[in-house]
Amino acid sequence: MRFPKHSTRRYLAVVPAYNEQATVGEVVAALRRHAPEFDVLVVDDGSTDRTGEIARAAGARVVRLPYNLGIGSTVQAGFVFAQENGYDYMAQVDGDGQHDPRELRKLIAAMDADPEIDMVCGSRFLTDDHSYPAPVSRRTGIHIFAFILSRIVDQRVSDPTSGFRLYNRRGIGVFARDYPHDYPEVEAVLMLHWHRLKMIEVPVKMHTRSAGVSSISSGKSAYYMIKVLLAIFVGLARRRPEPDPGEPAGVIAGAGI
């Protein structure tokens, strides 16, 4: 399946990878095969295995962080790269193979359908097919976040932990400047809301991880739950960021005369 051709638009696929040597080569190859208009950038989060070399051999550009910074800072390096190299759209595709590059077409279609949209998020839970295999504990966590977030942002958010996302320039700009640290996807939804950027979800299918272990082991999920909940509720009390020029006008009054 071919993508609609927009010769003037530049797309970047950012693949955050930490010790994913078993899968990252295949992810890069699949991106180049199924989403050829995307340039592929692998951000190697200080891996101790051959992740970076394999990604480069597979044809990706590789930014190698000097030591392990964590997923949030890794993806943020991708936003900074996208911004500085003038990309119009940036997709995040995980390095473990759970995201299917063929599904990027759906994200692009949703982005193209409405110029107001700043982020398109692939959701596992919008399909009728409820076969996404995840441990009950993690699914429960996801649904709790989904419930809370949906109330706060006043929009249904079914899969706030999905990292399969496409951003436009406004989204790239916001997150190049400031992106949450650990387990960042949930907070990123909130940040979009505060910057008055629009997001939409589209149903996608995801695979189970083909190798390696998730960055979120079951033992750590409770810790992450609490940390992200703290971030959400502290974030509610935080001073709202001023919208940038070009962002939709907000209700914050500027400095008066």
């Binding site: 930014v63 000097p66 800072s73 790269f81």
Partner: protein
């Protein structure tokens, strides 16, 4: 109160104060972190010199046994210091993160430039590496 213990206390507090000042003088301690320590040393010195102050403070706060007031003040001071350190650690974490990202991005950029240069010496597109170098130069400004 035995005046010997008062002398020891004054000497110790003065010693701390002088040590902190000396660390700042030798640039081992930045002023911004020294301020908290100077404050702590001064408070200790004042309490050592002014014998009645601790008892009065204890009275104000309804603490029956004056030394407990000292423990309370000391503990509160330590807590504030620790919090201060957590805050500065968080700031440093952020700064180091940004530096690490910049280093990684620049390394990638450098390797691109080098690849293009290598390709050029092999008879590739001669203008390309100059353009890349030019953009790298802009970034350094």
């Amino acid at each position: 109160m035995d005046s010997r213990i008062q002398i020891v206390a004054i000497l110790a507090a003065s010693g701390l104060l002088l040590f902190v000042l000396e660390l700042v003088r030798r640039r081992r301690l930045l002023e911004r972190y020294a301020l908290v320590w100077l404050l702590a040393a001064v408070v200790l010195l004042v309490l050592a010199v002014w014998r009645g102050l601790l008892a009065d403070l204890a009275d104000v706060f309804g603490i029956a046994y004056a030394p407990n007031a000292l423990f309370f003040v000391a503990f509160a001071g330590v807590l504030v210091l620790l919090l201060h350190f957590s805050v500065s650690t968080s700031r440093h974490t952020n700064q180091v993160k940004v530096l690490a990202q910049r280093v990684a991005l620049l390394e990638e950029r450098l390797s691109q430039v080098e690849d293009h240069q290598a390709a050029d010496t092999g008879g590739g597109d001669p203008g390309h590496s100059e353009r890349l170098i030019a953009t790298s130069g802009e970034m350094l400004e």
